[in-house]
């Protein structure tokens, strides 16, 4: 039998993606819809000897083609004609959810009505008469609790047992559709508004017949929001949560895991590789290439993979709780001054993990202007790949204040992003009004499967990068730093020294005009992690990614002479703000579909970094920090 095609549709925050993840598990492919950069998620599952393909359509409140997401949903349903369309409904806020249902039925699309989050609805004192609901709509109704395997199985039973083409809308719905058609044919001004009112009138009518409310409980969400989104406590709570996020990522989980991976590379893998290579009597240059180039370079990045996975895990977890919407709610007035809306906070926060998903996440914003500004300012944030550079330099030059110094770099990135958003908003982009309309979903304990799948999906990008770009880069840097036109050379006379020295001319007034720093700046455009790898190779530390303090001790003797603490700080600021890495630029190119904007992004960030770093160094010197 041919594969059964199933499409999931529904409002945001209905648990649709959780159902998708629990239906298909890890058997899913995440790509892009053609032409736009909205996630296209397809998964596969077998049930009752039937192969089923499931597509998770973007969550939308309506299908009026107001946004790329809405366009995708309606185009897919009308053109691809999946055999089963599931309309996932949040049973605890059915009224608004049924709006989309009516629109789907008006388009002649029969749907399975999936009453999800039945557990929450019951807690709220809601009883839904499923039989009556089926009669009212003429469509099959299933009750589910997305995290519960039994209900997922029940849902799949419905897929394989019910042929949706046998279902027809009830007379009530048919009547409604006829009325909508009639209104649409009257070429009046307010057709859309009239139809909206008609839909809600029908929903109110149906709700009265199928839902019984017993008592109104003051929900937990209200109690939490009373503190988290209200009054003077909201901001400290927000900062505390973000601080916790970093504490967990860097101090509690990420760093010990990073140390573990690093210990393995430094104490086990490197000696083992050296031994084997020596036993095989491999040429010295190849030994050096593999150990000093590849293992040191790639190892330096792999060490930070646990950090990045932890950060993505925390961000996905927070997203799953519903707190991210509160962040947008709280920060909207601030973001508005920059010309963005509170929603812009979410991609920006992701920018602390990696600019690439953050740039892609900007598509969730409402207007083209918002998306462009968010994409252009996100790279200022200190992403996971810049962190190793910051950690290393902080440990080297500010051993007593490392956390505060790194924190200040994060703050500098945020300020640069906000200021530049403002500047871009008032100069480059015509000031069109942006609006802010955001659902504040109930607080929930996130579905761990969804959190883990999201973490894996985003984190694996780093693994791929380590395996490809960084691998190639390590070899190139090793070559450039060990050779010149006359063959093998000392590092001071290598290609890299020549290139680095040329670049260093740009930083004469920044205090870091050494060829090593110049070389690191160049490689950092290819990938930010490479700054550390380059420094490691250049300053002759075999495994630079050793826990930052230890690496600092090893490098102290060599690097300590090239930087003062002030010039080191100026260097950190420069690295934090300058041109995004190739991968991020590639993403910007893809999103903007414009080389002009991509080059602009590469150039203006360099200028901003150059100026800010210069000011910090010169002002610092005036204030007497230069020693």
């Amino acid at each position: 039998m041919a594969t059964l095609s199933v499409a999931l549709t529904g409002n945001p925050n209905t648990g649709k993606t959780t159902i998708f993840n629990n239906l298909t598990g890890a058997r899913q492919k995440i790509g892009n819809w053609p032409g736009v950069t909205v996630d296209k998620k397809v998964g596969y599952v077998n049930h009752n000897d039937r192969a089923i393909s499931v597509i998770d359509l973007p969550g939308t409140y309506s299908i009026n083609a107001r946004s790329a997401e809405e366009q995708i949903v309606i185009d897919y349903l009308l053109n691809e004609k999946p055999e089963i369309v599931v309309n996932v409904l949040d049973a605890s806020s059915l009224e608004r959810n049924l709006f989309l249902t009516l629109q789907l039925l008006e388009c002649g699309i029969p749907v399975i009505l999936d009453l999800n989050m039945m557990d929450e609805a019951k807690k709220r004192g809601l009883t839904i008469n499923v039989k009556e609901m089926e009669a009212q709509f003429g469509m099959p109704v299933v009750e589910t609790v997305a995290k519960d395997h039994k209900s997922i199985k029940k849902l799949m039973d419905v897929f394989t047992e019910k042929a949706l083409c046998n279902y027809h809308p009830s007379d009530l719905i048919e009547e409604h559709i006829a009325k909508v058609k009639e209104i649409s044919n009257n070429n009046k001004d307010q057709v859309e508004e009239e139809i909206i009112e008609l839909r809600y009138a029908l929903i109110d009518n149906i709700m009265g017949k199928i839902v019984k409310k017993s008592g109104t409980s003051n929900s937990i969400t209200e109690k939490i929001d009373h503190i988290f989104a209200n009054g003077f406590l909201a901001l400290p709570v927000l900062f505390a949560i973000i601080y916790m996020l970093f504490e967990i990522t860097f101090d509690w989980i990420g760093q010990p895991m990073a140390d573990f991976v690093d210990g393995f590379i430094g104490d086990t893998l490197t000696p083992w590789a050296q031994e084997i290579l020596a036993d095989l009597e491999v040429a010295d240059w190849l030994q050096s290439l593999l150990v000093d180039g590849v293992i040191a370079g790639v190892g330096g990045v792999v060490t930070f993979v646990p950090l990045i996975f932890t950060l993505f895990f925390c961000l996905s977890f927070l997203d799953g709780t519903g707190y991210m919407a509160r962040v947008a709610f709280i920060m909207d007035p601030v973001m508005r001054r920059t010309g963005l809306t509170g929603k812009g906070v979410m991609p920006l926060i992701m920018g602390f993990g990696c600019a690439v998903p953050a740039i892609m996440g900007a598509r969730a914003l409402d207007s083209e202007k918002d998306r462009r500004i968010a994409m252009l300012v996100t790279p200022f944030l200190t992403c996971g790949a810049k962190l190793p550079v910051m950690a290393l330099f902080a440990a080297l030059f500010f051993p007593d204040d490392a956390t505060n110094v790194v924190f200040s770099i994060y703050v500098a990135g945020v300020i640069a992003a906000i200021v530049m958003a403002k500047v871009l908003n008032s100069t480059t982009f015509k000031s069109e009004e942006s609006t802010f309309l955001l659902e504040l979903p109930p607080y929930r304990f996130p579905d761990m499967k969804t959190v883990l799948l999201e973490t894996w999906d985003k984190g694996k990008g780093f693994l791929v990068k380590a395996g490809t770009i960084i691998f190639a880069m390590s070899i190139v840097i090793w070559f450039l730093s060990n050779y010149n036109f006359s063959g093998p050379a000392e590092m001071e006379e290598s290609f890299l020294a020549t290139i680095g020295a040329a670049v260093a001319n740009l930083f004469v007034f920044h205090g870091f005009d050494t060829w090593e720093a110049g070389a690191a700046v160049i490689t950092g455009i290819l990938a930010k992690e490479a700054v550390v790898a380059t420094m490691g190779v250049l300053y002759g530390v075999a495994d630079v990614a050793e826990d930052a303090t230890e690496a600092a001790q090893q490098m102290q003797s060599t690097i300590g002479t090239s930087f003062t603490s002030l010039s080191a700080y100026a260097f950190m600021i420069f690295i934090a703000l300058y041109t995004p890495c190739m991968t991020a630029l590639g993403t910007i190119k893809k999103e903007f579909s414009s080389w002009k904007w991509t080059l602009f992004s590469a150039g203006y960030t360099f200028v901003v970094a150059w100026v800010v770093s210069l000011v910090i160094y010169q002002v610092g010197k005036l204030l007497g920090f230069g020693a």
């Binding site: 007035p333 309309l437 659902e439």
Partner: protein
């Protein structure tokens, strides 16, 4: 006005419940309506964000955040 004094949604005290009497034309009027804010709907004002804007309301069993500027376009009457 039947039922009570007419005002706009942004003037409603947190904790009060009001009824929507109508929406002024604006660029997001139809979006607001799609989200369930139509004439006759009851709305409870929950709170303002810490910086006074946006505001959170409860409408049709869910919570929605909107800016004060948009709330000014929603006329309501006290129940």
């Amino acid at each position: 006005m039947i039922g009570g004094i007419e005002m706009t949604l942004n003037d409603v005290q947190p904790g009060s419940t009001v009824k929507i009497e109508g929406l002024e034309n604006s660029s997001i009027k139809s979006r607001l309506m799609s989200m369930g804010l139509i004439k006759g709907t009851t709305v409870k004002v929950l709170r303002s964000a810490p910086m006074g804007d946006p505001m959170a309301i409860s409408v049709r069993s869910y919570n929605l955040a909107l800016r004060v500027a948009d709330a000014k376009n929603i006329m309501v009457s006290v129940l």
